[in-house]
Symmetry: none
């Protein structure tokens, strides 16, 4: 029949999951049935997911991703619509540190490290800033402020951190760390290549 019952589910669905799944499946010429057998998820379910009439459980989504050979993030997360900065407030007692007059970054792990982790000690004089271009996709930075106040900018998000605060944010977009306080900033930075 051509007439719908009245649009069963308006489904605001900001998730492009359905479209993504359909693209991936049809791209490799799989029918719903084939896909069902490959993933262990029923044809009905797959159909509903593709039409955005249901958002699957993590378990089902995981099975689908595995059958397609993609990661969950590749399947679910929109290219860059995820949050950029996550802030966790720490307690107030700032660690006392000796302060220099110059801004500098000291590498605590070998430069150009062939690893997926690097870490640094950061010192920003008043007004100093560290601006970075986009790193490899999936790169993430973890910053802990030991003293001073800094502003983190990643993509469109912006957050201010005080002594004791920590933040993690995407580093695969242009990002910067700014000293917005009146005192020197001492912080420690961990960069993780996913």
């Amino acid at each position: 029949m051509s007439a719908r019952k009245s649009r069963p589910k308006p489904d605001p669905a900001r998730t492009p999951l359905g479209r993504r799944l359909h693209a991936l499946r049809s791209a490799r010429g799989w029918s719903l049935d084939v896909m069902a057998k490959a993933s262990g998820v029923s044809r009905s379910m797959l159909s509903q997911i593709e039409r955005n009439r249901a958002n699957p459980t993590l378990m089902v989504a995981s099975r689908i991703a595995r059958a397609l050979g993609v990661t969950l993030d590749e399947l679910a997360q929109s290219p860059g619509a995820t949050s950029s900065v996550t802030v966790i407030r720490g307690d107030d007692h700032s660690h006392h540190y000796h302060s220099d007059k110059l801004s500098r970054i000291r590498t605590l792990s070998p430069l150009h490290l062939e690893k997926d982790v690097e870490f640094y000690e950061l010192r920003l004089a008043k007004g100093g800033a560290l601006r970075s271009a986009a790193h490899f996709e999936g790169t993430r930075e973890y910053l802990t402020v030991t003293s001073g106040r800094v502003e983190i900018r990643s993509a469109d998000d912006s957050e201010t951190l005080c002594a004791g605060d920590s933040a993690s944010y995407r580093a695969d977009v242009p990002h910067s760390i700014l000293n917005t306080g009146r005192t020197e900033v001492v912080a420690h930075l961990v960069v993780i290549y996913l």
Copy 2:
């Protein structure tokens, strides 16, 4: 009371998701209520997920991952059957540091950090050692030796590092860092809760 209703859900659950979530949450000192507000998922749901009494939808899982600042894969994927010890040789120039006579660990990130990353500065006097019990499953440590020589032991593997070398290894098994050289060891350690 003490008597269970009869075990409501045996739940074969090969997914360590609950444990992972609990680890990540408690690692940053968040209560269910705080986590609920941060993620937009109800306390009840979070509690059930942690106890493996429910597997969330992709939407809910995504919210949780975003609140924690981790990717969906980091949250959901299998613990990662990666190798135990991975060694990367660095160049020789060791950073010069002043040496103490006593072994000690200095925390560069707030103790009981509300993050899934912690890092320390390690100082081991001659013959000193740091032995750790198993951490949460999926925990991994990244060690960079600034000076001295250390031996890393994780599970059955053992590797010796010199100044400038880095190593990553599983920390969800008993592991230890030993000063096997004649000089003091200075190293930096990053602990990541997967």
